[in-house]
């Protein structure tokens, strides 16, 4: 089959997976820009959301919709608590990004294995089954549709929050200059807690959408970790709009590279490496990301000249 025939479906799939990428990454990127460290435990939040929704939807029988809502709230609370109990005290005591990064590794590990203890290692499938149906040339199902609608609602409301409300201004301010925000009489800590709540809640929702199709295992979130980092870096750390754009661009790149790779006789599995290759190139040549919010660095050429 020619690539052109597959194109509508590939584009649609890219939108679906791009939405999940975006939801999973927003929290990582925002907390990174505020607290200046990559929170590896984000992966565990994704998994937690999926497990919580599984329990709510398929064990307690509340249905998939309430499952998403429950996972959203529960993961948000988990994230906010993680900040208050672990990362806030640690940040006050130890400076630099290494200690909180490694602590988040340890925390993620502990959370993942607590979940493995509770829910086991086996694949758990949601009892809700999403039947596929055709829309024009594309096949879809209600899970995918919900994913897209949910993401659109999130993007619109986040845009409203960031650009039209005082809270949004405080959030943007906290990430660029927390001292100034504090001096203006804004309770910075409260802003940070809300960002952790929001970011983790979205990650939890991403977990539900990921697991809705193929079920949930303890490694669900860890498998997303590299993608989350890739999207956040490609976007430029801390930029919400950058994350949305980067998520869709990377997902398009990944999905579109599949037929291209297949047509030149390479396994489609390489598509994920293609996406990460794009990101490493981003880091090397324009590390501030597509939104230009990443760190300033000396140009590669200037550094290389020093060595030689």
């Amino acid at each position: 089959m020619a690539i052109a025939d597959l194109l509508p479906q590939l584009l649609f799939n890219s939108v679906v997976s791009g939405s999940v990428f975006a939801l999973a990454t927003v929290g990582f990127s925002l907390t990174y820009s505020i607290l200046k460290f990559p929170n590896i435990a984000q992966a565990a939040f994704i998994t937690f959301g999926a497990y919580f929704a599984y329990t709510a939807a398929s064990v307690w029988g509340l249905g998939f919709g309430l499952g998403i809502l429950g996972a959203f709230l529960a993961t948000g609370i988990l994230g906010a608590l993680s900040y208050v109990v672990i990362f806030r005290p640690l940040g006050r005591k130890v400076s630099g990004f290494v200690a909180p990064t490694v602590a988040s590794v340890g925390y993620g590990l502990a959370l993942t294995f607590i979940m493995q203890q509770i829910w086991g290692r086996d694949l758990l499938l949601f009892s809700t089954i999403f039947d596929a149906f055709s829309v024009g040339p594309m096949r879809t199902n209600w899970l995918w549709n919900t994913t897209i609608v949910f993401t659109v609602i999130v993007v619109v409301s986040m845009h409203y929050l960031l650009s039209r409300t005082k809270f949004g201004a405080a959030m943007r301010g906290t990430s660029s200059n927390p001292d100034l925000v504090r001096a203006s009489g804004i309770h910075v800590d409260r802003v940070i807690i809300s960002v952790w709540f929001l970011g983790s809640a979205l990650a939890g929702a991403a977990g539900v959408f990921l697991a809705g199709q193929n079920g949930v295992t303890p490694v669900l979130g860890s498998n997303m970790l590299v993608t989350v980092m890739a999207v956040a870096i490609f976007a430029g750390i801390g930029s919400f709009y950058g994350v949305i754009a980067a998520a869709y661009i990377l997902s398009f790149a990944q999905n579109l590279s599949i037929p291209v790779l297949l047509s030149i006789g390479q396994p489609s599995f390489y598509s994920i490496a293609v996406a990460y290759g794009v990101v490493i190139a981003t880091l090397l040549f324009f590390p501030r990301g597509i939104s230009g919010t990443g760190p300033k660095v000396e140009s590669l050429i200037a550094k290389m000249r020093k060595v030689v």
């Binding site: 130890v94 490694v102 602590a103 925390y107 860890s222 550094k303």
Partner: protein, 305 residues
């Protein structure tokens, strides 16, 4: 009794291999402040290179030499662009590099793909008795660890090492003193990669296997946890961290046969390590064994001994 000693010996080989890995983390992160979050990539390159070559009939030492060169080269290639990045971005870039390498190897059929390389020839093909083989491997991994300990102390106890510590504490200061910090960091990165690569070569010949599931990023996490627990600035800290981590893991696995606990011991081990890492970072961020700082007394404005 005989079996028990062999079991201990087996555990000791793995402890020494991970101590070597942990030492490479201590050199890069603990002593020079380079947060290489892709240690496993170099571990893997070493393991796959030597396994692949050993299967074609090349003797172990030659395969090891090629593995050392290749892992060092890979370290150089990555360090040149990556060290340009700010510390936290360096960690993300190296992390993703490791994952890309793993995914690429996973899809190369000549490297075994998802199955991995099985029946990797041992470094000691003439030894047939298992306990003797374990003893020989203890010797091999001990020699590797000690050699790198000598390299480590030669680097760190010299003016060279003081420049590295200065880069760790304040890179701008080091640069202002006319030190080419980039070159120093690149050299440390390469030497650390060689350590990891050598550990990988020893590991795969001991297991007789090299597969991508052995080299996921959880290995990087594990090694960092070892380094942080033991103390990330000393040689002994690397060994101690590896020893504590692996023996707790093994003890919990053995304890399963004797006492009944409601929690799966494997899960419990990881939950404990997770919390231990956080607690150590909070209460004793320098790890169990602290860095010995040189005392310099200043009297009347003169530097004294």
């Amino acid at each position: 009794m005989y079996e028990f000693i062999t079991f201990l010996g087996d555990a000791f080989v793995i402890i020494l291999i991970f101590a070597t890995l942990s030492l490479s983390v201590n050199l890069q992160y603990g002593s020079s402040g380079i947060f290489n979050f892709g240690v496993v990539a170099f571990f893997m390159i070493g393991a796959y290179t030597s396994s692949f070559l050993a299967l074609t009939g090349i003797p172990f030492l030659l395969a090891l030499a090629v593995a050392v060169i290749l892992s060092g080269l890979a370290g150089l290639l990555i360090s040149l662009p990556a060290l340009n990045l700010r510390g936290d971005f360096l960690s993300l870039a190296t992390f993703m590099f490791a994952e890309i390498i793993r995914l690429l190897v996973l899809n190369v059929p000549s490297l075994g793909g998802a199955v991995g390389i099985a029946r990797v020839p041992s470094a000691f093909p003439s030894i047939k008795v298992y306990s003797n083989l374990v003893a020989a491997n203890i010797a091999l991994s001990l020699v590797v660890f000690l050699v790198f300990c000598v390299v480590y102390s030669a680097m760190m106890s010299s003016p060279y090492g003081r420049v590295l510590k200065c880069i760790r504490e304040n890179e701008v200061l080091a640069e202002s003193l006319g030190k080419n910090t980039f070159r120093y960091k690149a050299q440390v990165f390469v030497i650390g990669s060689i350590m990891a690569g050598t550990a990988g070569a020893v590991y795969s010949q001991y297991l007789g296997f090299a597969g991508t599931e052995l080299f996921t990023y959880s290995v990087t996490f594990t090694v960092y946890i070892m380094s942080i627990i033991g103390g990330s600035t000393t040689r002994l800290g690397a060994l101690l961290g590896s020893f504590i981590y692996l023996s707790i893991q093994d003890l919990l696995r053995i304890a399963k046969n004797w006492i009944t606990i409601p929690v799966d011991p494997n899960n419990l081990a990881f939950i404990l390590f997770g919390f231990a890492t956080m607690l150590i970072l909070y209460y004793r961020p320098e790890g169990i064994i602290r860095e010995k700082l040189r005392q310099v007394r200043v009297t009347n404005g003169n530097l004294g001994a």
